[in-house]
Symmetry: C2
Subunit: 302 residues, 2 copies
């Protein structure tokens, strides 16, 4: 195993995680979560989104959350932006980085954002262009890279095509999402090998959901290809409201535990991370969907 | 990844899994579980143990369970045997295979079986010898191979020494147990590389607990070394009563799902396996500790 010596962990709990929570989490709780994650050493934290509040009421207070956050030098706080109206709101909020998203599956694209993949690019390209013209960094997401809840298999060629389009649009990084968590290690590895033929591997990130318990194994299978950016959500927050049975992102604690054990630096203090997770779990009144979090709590380790 | 084309899954749920359940599971439920597992295609199922009923009351009915099982040609049903009295009971029950166990940690050996590692071998060697003389196959377990709840780190040399002793005692296979589930992939791989210097790799099995969510990744890290036997427990049953916070074995469903996805044959029907897991979960009135089981139930897949 010739893994990278350092992995950058992108924490998506405050957005991809919380967005599916049915009960609105107050802005001060979101602020405390983001600040606790930054305090634990996370340097990229997806802080919210400027989508329609009717679509995602949980994210309606993103501007308020951003305004309340203390200054955190060295921490990137990307927000998800689906269109030019969203970009305007992001710019008004002083955002420095946005994320745009496409799907590798036509059916998912139509059901999730009500347009074809090609149409979604007609929509996102002006957003990415205007954002870059305003000096913002743009991160791209591709969903359904290892399977679609409606179509089943998704070809690695289709993923590579969408990823390359996002790169051409100016995305500094493209995060490949196993949205429904059905992927297994060999497929994950073959996918990265295929996409890396069209997009430099140092521009790729892994975004794997743990619905079938495969996320860490899938990440491991890709690490020695040279991928060194991994998305995760503290206490495994999140999921996909459009995919039945699709539970959360891989838990950040479980990922950091594995990387720590492998001698791969993340800059994250696992104990401080676990405390951030305990706090949001208490607020949500829920057991953490992180085995490391549960084991540390059981041994009173943090 | 040059993984084996076939993996033999050793199901340990009916013994290693159930033994820690505080409420006694009736013999007919154990029989139904074992028969359902065999029906799903599992060819090695740890069926019980002949330890003192005062130590492990849950296993007091092993002879009764074995007597009630229908004939299942091609299925091995090892039972755990700690001493010559246990072997006598196993022989009386018509057992064809037993398992003996040692620890790679002195502290764990003393606290778990109240003797040193060396003394444990003085105890097990006659058991293994008598079993083989009676025509039985003997499987060996080594616990604490990637960490001890009392000592912390355990050296790969210590594990190799115990594994080699079990081999010398006549064990046809030695199962290496990460009893507290603290191991990570690089350590797991390095351990197997070290032990394989003293014990042929086709005699080794992986027995990893999922306490820290690392089990599948650890298994993956070892597969391409040539290990092709993996222990698991349906719905992640089990744990270690002597290690605080140590939860169950890797779930058989999660393991089989990964192997299926990688094109590695197990001979196990995942849907039939999931039904066996649903049944015991209903009896225990517990959510399965298997993400695959939960995802399949959510999508009404089985």
């Amino acid at each position: 195993m010739t893994c990278p010596s350092r992995v950058r962990v992108v924490e998506v709990g405050p957005r991809d995680g919380l967005q599916n929570e049915p009960v609105i989490v107050p802005a001060d709780v979101k602020v405390a979560l983001i600040e606790a994650l930054a305090g634990a050493g996370v340097t990229t934290i997806e802080a919210g989104s400027f989508v329609s509040p009717r679509w995602v009421p949980q994210m309606a207070d993103t501007a308020d959350v951003l305004a309340r956050l203390r200054s955190m030098p060295g921490v990137s706080l990307p927000v998800l932006v689906p269109n030019l109206q969203g970009l305007d709101r992001a710019l008004a909020a002083g955002v420095r980085e946005i994320a745009v998203f496409g799907a590798a599956s036509e059916s998912f694209s139509r059901r999730n954002i009500n347009c074809s993949i090609a149409e979604s690019f007609d929509r996102f390209a002006p957003v990415a262009g205007a954002a870059r013209a305003a000096g913002l960094r743009v991160r791209g997401y591709v969903s359904c890279v290892l399977g679609c809840p409606y179509e089943g298999d998704v070809s690695a060629d289709a993923v590579a095509k969408v990823a390359a389009a996002l790169l051409a649009m100016g995305c500094y990084e493209i995060s490949l999402g196993d949205t429904i968590g059905t992927g297994t290690p060999r497929e994950a590895r073959q996918l990265i090998e295929r996409v890396a033929a069209d997009v430099p591997i140092d521009r790729l990130a892994l975004h794997f959901h743990d619905t079938y318990g495969q996320a860490l194994a899938n990440i491991l299978a890709c690490l020695d290809l040279g991928v060194s950016v991994v998305d995760a959500a503290v206490v495994g927050l999140g999921g996909c409201p459009y995919a039945r049975g699709a539970t959360g992102n891989v838990a950040t604690e479980d990922l950091v535990y594995m990387l720590d054990g492998m001698g791969i630096e993340t800059g994250i203090d696992l104990h401080a991370l676990a405390r951030a997770g305990q706090s949001i779990s208490r607020h949500l009144d829920r057991e953490p969907a992180s085995k490391v979090a549960r084991a540390m709590a059981a041994t009173a380790d943090p």
